[in-house]
């Protein structure tokens, strides 16, 4: 009975006893979830337009962050460095389209996946060559991002502390998601993106240039990567370790569906909040450290019941 109590009753008793602490945990999870969602968003963009699982999204985050900080270290003012980092992502997108996507057009998906793995290692090498392998401090203040924190007092006297940078991350993520949704649904290029995702031949026949669309998609994913790099870098450092953290986007994508932008956001939040609550309230039972694998567990269970994800397109094969 003791075991059942510690698993099913005790955690909830703890939550009820210290609601301020629970709120703090949920908020931490929410912020982590937003960052997962941002990374997942980059994956979704590319997957929607070219059906490629872009293994390199993680390193793109690192590379974008490194470019920004690296340029600043070389003496470029922060805002100019930001604009130049956007330029770097644009150049990267054009190069990927020209040297990777275009020669491999029409190849099986697995080939493209391998190509993105290759790109990952290329970018790791290039990044270390240019900026060195040391972790770098994100230039949070120089970019005009808030750094303080606000404490809210609860009825019972407890405190919930919100970092301003986290609030900014949430707001920026929201704006990006909203912007992308409008862009995809209401504009010519957005429509062209969806058209390419749907049927290459038909897209070509109405005058859509696949090359241009792919460059734009990789650029959009690059912008998302830059935003992610800034936000994540502000919380820890900009280092190559982020590349591994980016794989957390996998369970998020399984949960949200590979093709859905809202799915990426909601999937990110579920994973972020779920793993924080799991770690704090249940982690102790197995000696802690469940944060690193809980997300994959959730995704695995999810796969059994809804393989297309929460919002993914249902796959119906007509026979």
């Amino acid at each position: 009975m003791d075991v059942l109590y510690t698993i099913f009753i005790d955690p909830f008793v703890q939550m009820a006893e210290a609601p301020d602490f629970l709120l703090q945990v949920v908020w931490e999870g929410f912020v982590a979830g937003i960052l997962y969602a941002l990374i997942a968003l980059g994956f979704v963009l590319i997957y929607k337009a070219s059906g490629v699982f872009n293994f390199a999204q993680g390193i793109m985050v690192v590379f974008a962050g490194l470019s920004l900080v690296g340029l600043h270290e070389m003496g470029v003012p922060a805002l100019l460095a930001l604009i130049m980092a956007i330029g770097v992502m644009a150049i990267l997108a054009i190069c990927i389209e020209k040297f990777v996507m275009r020669p491999l057009v029409g190849q099986p998906d697995i080939i493209l996946l391998m190509a993105t793995i290759g790109m990952t290692y290329f970018l790791i090498g290039l990044g270390e060559f240019i900026f060195g392998g040391e972790p770098k401090q994100m230039i949070t203040e120089e970019l005009g991002l808030p750094t303080g924190s606000t404490a809210f007092e609860m009825d019972n006297g407890g405190l919930v502390i919100l970092q301003h940078i986290d609030i900014a991350a949430a707001v920026i993520a929201l704006i990006m998601v909203g912007g992308l949704a409008v862009f995809f649904n209401r504009t010519r290029i957005g429509r062209a993106l969806r058209a390419v995702a749907d049927d290459h031949t038909a897209a070509l026949s109405v005058g859509i240039s696949l090359n241009q669309i792919w460059a734009i998609v990789w650029f959009a994913a690059g912008i998302v990567a830059l935003a992610t790099g800034i936000m994540w870098g502000a919380r820890s450092d900009v280092s190559f370790a982020l590349e591994i953290v980016a794989l957390k986007a996998l369970p998020v994508l399984i949960l949200g569906g590979f093709t859905s932008i809202p799915g990426a956001v909601i999937g990110g939040l579920i994973i972020g909040i779920g793993e924080k609550i799991g770690e704090i309230y249940w982690g102790g039972l197995v000696g802690g450290g469940i944060e690193s694998w809980l997300a994959y567990m959730i995704a695995l269970i999810f796969l059994l019941f809804r393989p297309q994800g929460l919002f993914g397109e249902k796959i119906i094969e007509r026979i």
Binding site: G179, V182, F183, R186, T187, R188, I189, G190, R191, A192, R194, A195, A197, D198, D199, T201, A202, A203, L204, S205, V206, G207, I208, S209, L210, I216, E313
Partner: protein, 274 residues
Amino acid sequence: MNSPAAHFSLHGRDDGLNPGDVLLDVRNVSLAFGGVKAITDISFDIRKGEIRAIIGPNGAGKTSMLNVINGFYHPQQGTISFRGEARRRMQPHAAAASGIARTFQNVALFKGMSTLDNIMSGRTLKMHRNFFWQLLHVGPARDEEIANRRKVEEIIDFLEIQHIRKTPVGKLPYGLQKRVELGRALAMEPDLLLLDEPMAGMNLEEKEDMSRFILDVNDQFGTTIALIEHDMGVVMDISDRVVVLDYGRKIGDGTPDEVKNNRDVIDAYLGVPH
């Protein structure tokens, strides 16, 4: 004509050509995939304002011919002149930009998108505001969107598909999908419209509707049309001239009556051994 279409126009560009002038000229085109010859030394022309049918038994090279014309395939030999400009290699989006639109044998629509969005995608080349304007989605980019949307609504009225404007096309019956695909091609305001079996798999009533739309498009907008079709009744009814292919070669070319009485054509259809 009393159709609502009388009030709007989908004329292609003013290219100085008069009806009856050669719009597209195919000269000695050959196409092979490895050792398999799909098209062998074919020449024919399409004149402005006409409905030109391409017929022939299965595997005759009809669809390959369309694919050559709109740039999906690049022939090993021969040239194609469109409005007097000769070319051999052309990318599909460049063909689209020069005024060639098409539909496909097995409907190639954007299945996840609504009828409206599918037809809007045909306006891609008519919209010029760049990436950053579109990202902002204000001012000129918005005006442009609205103006093009108006044109699309007119096409939807013309094709009598108002009731399915918001329906994802994947859910539509086959006959309607074909009509949406025609709408998407029309939205490009093409000079030359290529239709690959526009009536395949349709029942009699749907075929009659589609024939009427094709004739209306040709009649009211002066659009030149090249079509592949297996229903001989329809072909003989609506086309001005017919070119007949068999085993990748041209075996007949002329008015429907001439073709009907051509010995080679009759043999090809009845299966006389070569």
